[in-house]
């Protein structure tokens, strides 16, 4: 059953694998080649997830109790909030996304992860860069630019690490043994190219040779919007396109639609971002172009949404049995809702109410958590047992994780979206004061919604802790099987 050792020379002559035994051996070889790298990436991402959650709770609590930890400089809101954001974006989401990307690329290309130790090294440097950056933020060295707060002295570490990891993803594709591309590969390949492009452009224009004045806002929103749409979204959609059909055992409803969805995203998404500056001192045509592009995004969103939901049609009862499916379907439905919601928010008439309100924060969490994070959780539930050949130790803990995450994020989104709209209406009403503790004012009317957000954060924290417990537990089981092979540990029923 042992497959020949992977080599670049072998991979230079890719060919379709016809033999069943060889195909099985290749799959086992792929999982074995990815194991250490993915355990490092997933383990580190979960560590940042927990740390980011603690800082999210502190930041959220300060929004309705500003005196909380206010006399400790490194725990003031201006440092805690960017710590949370960057820990989640670069510590958790990016690492989890890279792990899932590498595994999917290897599986779909039928190629092992060649020279995985180089990616391991890149992963270690990535985490070092994130740690240095986050400590820098707590020390007060934040750049002050949203989504780019990590100080300049940490970004070279991130850039070099990503360059290695991204190159490895592309090399895996180059040495593929499966000639035709599945739609997930299109999304993954594109994201591997897009991310360094938008990250470099933002670093050059905002940090290295900073542009001045309102143009900073334009570049900043172009980056912040595109990092979500051209980095996290393609990875999330690639995962859904692979895992939902794979788990339920049914091909995607209409493959042609999936191709249309990808190419329309590639053409329209990167025009977005400027619609966040509606009403700002920017050329009107620039904002209008972005609004038009946002509306055009209806095409990929509807095609992807139709495809996901019609693939699931007739299979919803399987949600009861599969944890991966639960997270994936929740993420897929959230993608449809958040994207259509985003189209609405881009319209001038809507943006005049919702901009500068908590509604925007809710929308960002809808995309990053309800869609992307839930999809990453689902992907990890699928991948990790296959890497370790050990079953998840506790179904109960998985259910706790899912329900806390699902209820928690809904409890976050609904009140904050509603509160944000009411806040916007109050801000546009000259009869409502900005701050008056004795009557209805812009600041005081948001307090109940902000408290609800904090309470929802506790639910999310319980869910994340449950996931971390299951992760450590499955690792412990795996280590046990390695140490005591003579005890004939029962084979996992995966």
């Amino acid at each position: 059953m042992n497959a020949p050792a992977p080599s670049i020379l072998n991979a230079l002559s890719p060919s379709d694998i016809e033999d069943v035994a060889e195909r099985r051996a290749v799959l086992a070889e792929i999982d074995a080649s990815c194991r250490n790298t993915l355990l490092l990436l997933f383990g580190a991402s979960l560590t940042w997830l927990l740390l980011g959650t603690v800082f999210a709770l502190i930041a959220s609590w300060k929004m309705h109790a500003p005196e909380f930890l206010a006399d400790i400089s490194w725990l003031t809101f201006g440092r805690v909030r960017p710590f949370h954001l960057n820990a989640m974006v670069f510590g958790f989401s990016t690492q989890a996304g890279i792990g899932v990307t590498l595994w999917l690329m290897c599986r779909l290309c039928r190629t092992p992860l060649l020279y995985g130790w180089i990616v391991d090294l890149a992963g270690l440097f990535w985490n070092l860069g994130v740690a240095v950056g986050l400590v820098g933020i707590l020390a007060g060295h934040s750049t002050g630019l949203e989504w780019l707060e990590i100080p300049p002295y940490a970004t070279p570490l991130l850039f070099v690490s990503y360059a290695l990891i991204g190159m490895w993803g592309i090399l895996t594709f180059r040495f593929r043994r499966e000639r035709h591309l599945y739609v997930s590969q299109w999304y993954l390949l594109a994201s591997l190219f897009w991310f360094p492009g938008i990250y470099s452009a933002a670093q050059i224009l905002l940090i290295m040779q900073p542009v001045r004045g309102t143009v900073q806002a334009a570049v900043n929103w172009w980056f912040a919007h595109n990092v979500l749409g051209l980095w996290f979204t393609p990875i999330g959609l690639a995962s859904i396109y692979y895992f939902i059909p794979k788990v339920i055992g049914k091909p995607v409803y209409n493959y042609s639609l999936s191709v249309l969805g990808f190419w329309s995203l590639a053409l329209f998404y990167n025009w977005n971002g400027m619609h966040h500056l509606v009403g700002g001192p920017m050329p009107a045509w620039l904002i209008t172009v972005s609004i038009v592009a946002s509306v055009m995004m209806t095409i990929p969103v509807v095609t992807v949404g139709l495809n996901h939901h019609l693939t699931m049609w007739g299979n919803f009862k399987k949600l009861k049995d599969s944890p991966v499916l639960r997270f994936m379907v929740f993420g897929g439905m959230s993608y449809t809702v958040t994207s259509l919601h985003g189209v609405l928010l881009a319209l001038r008439s809507v943006s005049e109410v919702t901009h500068f309100t908590h509604s925007t924060i809710a929308h960002a969490h809808q995309g990053m958590y309800a869609f992307f994070t839930m999809v990453m959780f689902g992907a990890m539930y699928y991948i990790i047992p296959r890497l370790l050949k050990v079953e998840w130790p506790s179904a109960h803990v998985i259910r706790v994780h899912f329900w806390c995450a699902a209820i928690g994020i809904m409890f976050y989104l609904v009140p904050l979206t509603l509160g944000g709209v009411l806040q916007g209406l109050a801000m546009n009403n000259p009869d409502v004061p900005f701050l008056d503790p004795h009557k209805y004012s812009v600041v005081t009317m948001t307090l109940p919604y902000l408290r609800m957000r904090s309470y929802s954060g506790f639910l999310l924290a319980i869910g994340h802790t449950a996931f971390a417990i299951n992760f450590i537990w499955i690792l412990a089981r795996w280590v046990k099987t390695l140490r005591l092979p003579q005890l004939a540990t029962p084979a996992p029923s995966l």
């Binding site: 059953m1 497959a3 069943v20 195909r23 099985r24 051996a25 799959l27 086992a28 070889e29 074995a32 779909l108 499966e178 035709h180 591309l181 599945y182 594109a190 190219f193 492009g197 452009a201 224009l205 143009v215 334009a218 570049v219 172009w222 059909p245 794979k246 788990v247 339920i248 055992g249 049914k250 091909p251 995607v252 493959y255 042609s256 191709v259 190419w263 590639a266 053409l267 990167n270 025009w271 050329p283 620039l286 172009v289 399987k318 009861k320 049995d321 599969s322 944890p323 991966v324 499916l325 296959r386 050949k389 998840w392 130790p393 506790s394 179904a395 998985i398 084979a491 029923s493 995966l494």
Partner: protein, 74 residues
């Protein structure tokens, strides 16, 4: 203002331009032929169409055929 034009050209011309180049490559390499076959490429003998490949660990409460992943190499 020149930066805005660079951003605009980058977003509207360069990125979609590379997408169009990639689209051309895909056309030349027959990526849009046999789409139904491509949709089936994620399935194989061990995890074929019609078989669920993920369950809760206590899923013996709900018996149903389930795929087994390939065994680990020794």
């Amino acid at each position: 203002m020149i930066i805005l034009w660079i951003l605009f050209i980058g977003s509207v011309v360069v990125l979609p331009g590379t997408a169009i180049l990639a689209f051309g490559w895909a056309l030349r390499h027959g990526e849009f032929e046999h789409l139904d076959k491509t949709a089936l490429s994620i399935f194989d003998e061990d995890e074929p169409v019609g078989v669920m490949t993920d369950r809760f660990p206590d899923s013996d409460l709900h018996p149903e055929p389930q795929a087994m992943p390939p065994a680990s190499p020794p």
